[in-house]
């Protein structure tokens, strides 16, 4: 079955380009003729993941794989890893430093929002090694 994949490298603290990857992903989905509601979900998921990489990680990649049945977004970084994943998944929980919060980021909604817009959501994290998030969105018939 035909599928197509893209990878976008994301650098730590690169606020200037933050949002570009999700913007490109959105454009790709629009061109594929996807339904608006799925595009919105994917865009939000990808954007949150992208911002997390910029703010919290040491850098990583956002990947997207699209086939006629589903869309999978993968966010992978090289550290520092999340100490308590369960806590991080709680709405409002944030480890972002003040300077980031002052900019309007780090509200503690990143991971919960990603989960909310996915049909399945997996997170694996090893302190000192990195975090891998996989979000899957199913395409309904006719999408």
């Amino acid at each position: 079955m035909g599928n197509i994949s893209y990878n976008f490298p994301i650098e730590k603290d690169d606020f200037e380009r933050a949002g570009e990857a999700s913007s490109k992903i959105k454009k790709i989905l629009r061109q594929l003729g996807m339904d608006s509601s799925i595009i919105r979900r994917v865009a939000i998921g990808a954007y949150e993941a992208e911002m997390n990489l910029v703010i919290h990680s040491l850098g990583g990649t956002i990947g997207i794989t699209i086939d006629p049945e589903s869309i999978i977004i993968t966010a992978e970084d090289t550290g520092p890893g999340i100490e308590n994943v369960q806590l991080a998944m709680k709405e409002g929980y944030s480890t972002a430093p003040d300077r980031i919060r002052e900019m309007g980021f780090g509200a503690g909604m990143g991971l919960p929002n990603m989960k909310k817009c996915s049909d399945s959501f997996d997170i694996e994290s090893i302190v000192g090694k990195g975090t891998k998030i996989v979000m899957k969105m199913m395409l309904k018939d006719g999408d």
Binding site: M1, G2, N3, I4, Y6, G19, S22, S23, K26, I28, R30, Q31, L32, G33, M34, S36, S37, I39, R40, A43, I44, Y47, I66, D67, P68, L139, D143
Partner: protein, 425 residues
Amino acid sequence: MSNEYSHSVILREDRCIGCTSCLKVCPTEAIRVRDGKAKIISDRCIDCGECIRICPNHAKSAITDDLNMMKKFKYNIAIPSLTIYGQFPSNISISQILTSIKRIGFDEVVEDTIGADISIFLIKEYLLKKPGMEFPLINSSCPAIIRLIQIRFPDLIPNIITIETPVEITARIAKTEVAKRKGIDIKDIGVFFITPCTARVTSIRNPLGITESYVNGAISIKDIYGEIVRNLGDNNNLIKGISTRESILWPIAGGQASALGIENYLAVDGIHDVIKVLEEVELGKLEDIDFIECSACTGGCVGGPLVIQNSFIAKNRLMKHAKKVDISKYTKEDLDRFIKMYEDGFIRLTEKIEPKSVMRLDKDLSKSIHKMELVTEILKNLPGLDCGICGSPTCRAFAEDIVKGENKKAVCMIKTMNGFKSKNL
């Protein structure tokens, strides 16, 4: 009524030299240069007029109506765009301008103040407070923005305020009132909008959100300017203006939003900046904002493609006029009347605004994915300079055009040149 989508923005082929200026500024990538001439992809064009503004050879132009169209009607009403007051030196009063327009041959001149004030008042006192609204509300007054949303931000269609644009409101009220007062059949009354805006011209012919416009023709400010100037001078029997301060400021970027008396708004002008802000809205990042005023033209409607005067100068003049008039005053009874007009559908956008998926590669998702793969493959072999010499605005658009089969003679000059260079080595 013709259903064929006709645009106001057109190309005058004799003037086009096939340069790439317009390719780059088009917000929907609707232009290609083929066989040395620019071509507009009809489905994608939103009539914003960016290409008209940039074309150094004035090859991009706008089709508007001319004064001969008045002969079709027994009674003719002119509604001059509010921007017109900024097109003349400040010592020329609004009354003089209105009177001069009437002397061109209209039976009546009606100020667009009526529609602008009703729109401001309804949004402020009714729609911002109405339950079930999708925030941030987006103004419906800029037709190029509505078409942009249809194509690039279909998710935001529910955010568009379902109120008709001021000129449509004014036209409806004026036409109905004249029909009653003069006992003339509504079909015999012609309403002409004197417009700064190309997208408005298109929207009169192909309305969005309504089945038919009460405006019969649109005359470009550029075209009628000379006639107005020639009719100025005689200061007898001047029409008494009814302009309010809010309405005079309406066509300036931010004027509409500030008239609402709220603080929590954004006023964005210039289509490329509007795109950036709408992208944020689409990501759900601006849900705490009440209202976004989007204007495709930089500076607001005063920056329209069909005006005479530089928008900064026009803005200064409008502000001077605004100072001389009172703020608008309406009673509770007026509000109830306006709400009824809205709820009855008289001044409401009653028809659904449909998304337009003109960007997609194929109707079938599997085929789309396959085509996207091809695009990605082709892109690997392109220089990524987006120079436009091939006639497509970007390397990516070039690849898409090939995959869609729309560009059979495609050649990348940069690649060809590099090919020659490597052979010489």
